[in-house]
């Protein structure tokens, strides 16, 4: 990634122009286009959006901070269940609220934040003990925590246990979901381009040197973990209210792997790479699904694996490495001389 310094960029409202433009376009699409789209294709678009949020947020931990976490699905499930429990309860207690779809949408935004905060809190719980570990050990511990969260949910009957949680109100609209996609990318982009983000990079590059330069590495790692968990929680909540059914099995380690694959494929430390990879893998998974129905063989994991092997052989740093798409545009807005990491 070429990290931008402020000296060649705007501040305040002026710097938000493109982001606001993106939101406006999304809501225009929401009101004028979304209903026309073929439902199957539409569902792929929606899952792609959820996966973008997941991949981009995991990139903060795995890519920018260099901490290999394998428990992202766990945080996703926390957010999913918190929000789904809240809305299903509300629906039984105050069914009249649900008559006002606008009121409910507003309320859902609040619940999404709550789901994120819940997941972020679990992020602290998981992060504090496990971030003393490095590399493989951390990976295994986070994998374990992800499974613990899942088994924990499996055994709580009020949220459905192994039966799952059905009849979740459909509150994830195209506009709302993609607004969160933009919000996620916006927040994380700005975060990794700030002093906080520099701490993440320092930890990734060399922990001993980072400490010697005054970086509180433990705190930086927990921060990265919490940010990642927060947005995973939001993604989980959006997922729950789109699929309208939750099952602990959905959030097993396969799910975590899928997100990791997106991050690795796109390039650890490249946000736009994560976006591309999330869209690409969501699409290919659906394409493979029809192939699987035809042949009755589960090709998905085979092709996934082959793709990863091929990629690691040809582009060991992922599609974009640590670069962003914008870096490939000649005379792009991110001038080389203003970056923290630049490339020849």
């Amino acid at each position: 990634m070429k990290l931008l310094f402020s000296s060649n960029s705007r501040h305040g409202i002026a710097s938000l122009r493109n982001w606001i433009l993106a939101l406006v376009l999304i809501w225009m699409a929401h009101f004028f286009v979304a209903d026309e789209i073929d439902p199957y294709f539409f569902s792929i678009i929606m899952y792609a959006g959820i996966n973008i949020i997941l991949a981009v947020s995991l990139n903060v931990v795995n890519g920018f901070s260099g901490q290999f976490s394998m428990g992202h699905a766990g945080f996703m499930s926390v957010g999913g269940y918190i929000s789904a429990f809240a809305t299903t309860q509300l629906e039984t207690i105050y069914p009249e609220w649900f008559a006002h779809s606008f009121l409910m949408s507003l309320f859902f935004i609040f619940i999404l934040v709550l789901a994120g905060l819940g997941a972020g809190f679990v992020g602290i719980l998981v992060g504090l003990p496990s971030l003393r570990l490095k590399g493989d050990y951390l990976a295994i511990v986070t994998l374990g925590f992800g499974e613990i969260i899942r088994v924990f949910i499996l055994n709580i009957d009020t949220i459905g246990g192994a039966r799952g949680l059905p009849n979740i109100p459909a509150l994830s609209s195209f506009g709302l979901l993609y607004s969160w996609v933009v919000i996620t990318i916006f927040c994380i982009w700005r975060l990794v381009n700030s002093a906080q983000g520099r701490d993440f990079l320092a930890v990734r590059e060399d922990e001993i040197a980072a400490e010697a330069m005054g970086v509180n590495t433990t705190q930086a790692k927990v921060r990265a973990f919490v940010v990642g968990a927060f947005f995973a929680g939001v993604a989980g909540a959006l997922f729950a209210h789109y699929l309208r059914y939750l099952n602990p099995q959905t959030f097993d380690f396969n799910r975590s792997f899928e997100i990791i694959i997106m991050v690795v494929l796109g390039g650890m430390g490249s946000l736009t790479g994560s976006v591309l990879a999330a869209v690409f893998l969501t699409a290919i998974r659906e394409a493979l699904r029809s192939l699987q129905e035809l042949t009755r063989i589960d090709f998905r994991m085979i092709i996934y694996s082959l793709m990863l092997i091929l990629l690691m052989l040809t582009r060991p740093n992922g599609l974009l490495g640590t670069r962003e798409l914008i870096d490939f545009i000649p005379n792009g807005s991110r001038k080389k001389k203003k970056s923290l990491e630049s490339h020849p």
């Binding site: 310094f5 010697a212 990491e341």
Partner: protein, 270 residues
């Protein structure tokens, strides 16, 4: 987060008392005593494996000493984490260079300066909104970094990736980066290693310059005797973890125990 340095008017930048560390059966440093006055360039020399780097590691919180006291600018350092020690005004370079390899020269500097005690801190919201004070602060910070880079003639290479720099530049960048933390005491671990005679000479000038112009205190480990004898006002010699001599360059050069330690004569005592 304003300066904490001026709390005591002690003239000592660093006071080390009876510092000892043991790895298994090996006493890597034993009963080390050092006093480094403010504004001094102090040399720590000794044969390979004498325990010099280990001493630095204890001073900077990487290792915890088994016993002994360390005070820098009147503050106790034993038991503090490395990042805290840096914020107390003590920063270091590494014998085997530890730059943030994949980041640019400026990136390396910015990270260090983010933790300067006088640096303004912005929390998540100003960073997200890019408020005017936050952006102006970044611009100023970048300028300050470039000013430090200029001392080492690295300002023109600010957007180069650290690992692509020539070896000598990497060493110089490490010193600049340590200065960017706002430290007043620099611990330099073999700053001239791998440099040619000309580069070493320039480095000597730079070290003197940062002491004179930036009121730095410098404790350096070095094998290049021309450098050590040329710029160090006081020199301590370590051998097998024990300080065997201390004094000015001429005192050290004529000390029989030092000559022994370096030339490897059969030890006659202990």
């Amino acid at each position: 987060m304003t300066t904490l340095h001026n709390e005591t008017d002690s003239l000592e930048a660093l006071e080390v008392k009876n510092l000892t560390i043991q790895f298994g059966g090996l006493k890597a440093v034993s009963d080390l005593n050092l006093q480094v006055s403010k504004g001094m360039i102090f040399g720590l020399i000794g044969p390979n494996g004498a325990g010099k780097t280990t001493a630095f590691n204890m001073l900077t919180g990487v290792y915890r000493p088994n016993s002994g006291k360390i005070q820098a600018f009147g503050k106790n350092l034993v038991g503090c984490r490395p990042f805290q020690i840096t914020q107390f005004g003590v920063a270091r370079t590494f014998q085997n260079i530890r730059l943030f390899k994949n980041l640019t020269v400026l990136g390396n500097m910015m990270i260090a300066m983010d933790h300067h005690p006088e640096q303004k801190h912005f929390w998540v919201l100003p960073s997200l909104l890019r408020t005017r004070p936050m952006v102006e602060n970044e611009i100023q910070q970048e300028k300050n970094c470039l000013e430090l880079l200029k001392i080492f003639k690295l300002d023109t290479r600010k957007s180069e990736i650290a690992k692509n720099l020539p070896y000598g530049d990497q060493r110089r960048l490490e010193i600049a980066r340590a200065m960017a933390t706002g430290a007043k005491l620099l611990l330099l671990d073999e700053p001239a290693a791998g440099m040619n005679a000309n580069e070493t000479k320039l480095l000597m000038h730079s070290i003197r310059l940062i002491r004179d112009e930036y009121q730095m205190t410098i404790l350096l480990i070095e094998h290049d005797m021309k450098l050590v004898m040329g710029i160090c006002e006081k020199i301590a010699v370590l051998d097998y973890g024990v300080k065997i001599a201390e004094g000015t360059s001429s005192e050290i050069q004529n000390n029989p125990r030092v000559i022994e330690a370096y030339l490897g004569k059969v030890p006659t005592d202990e």
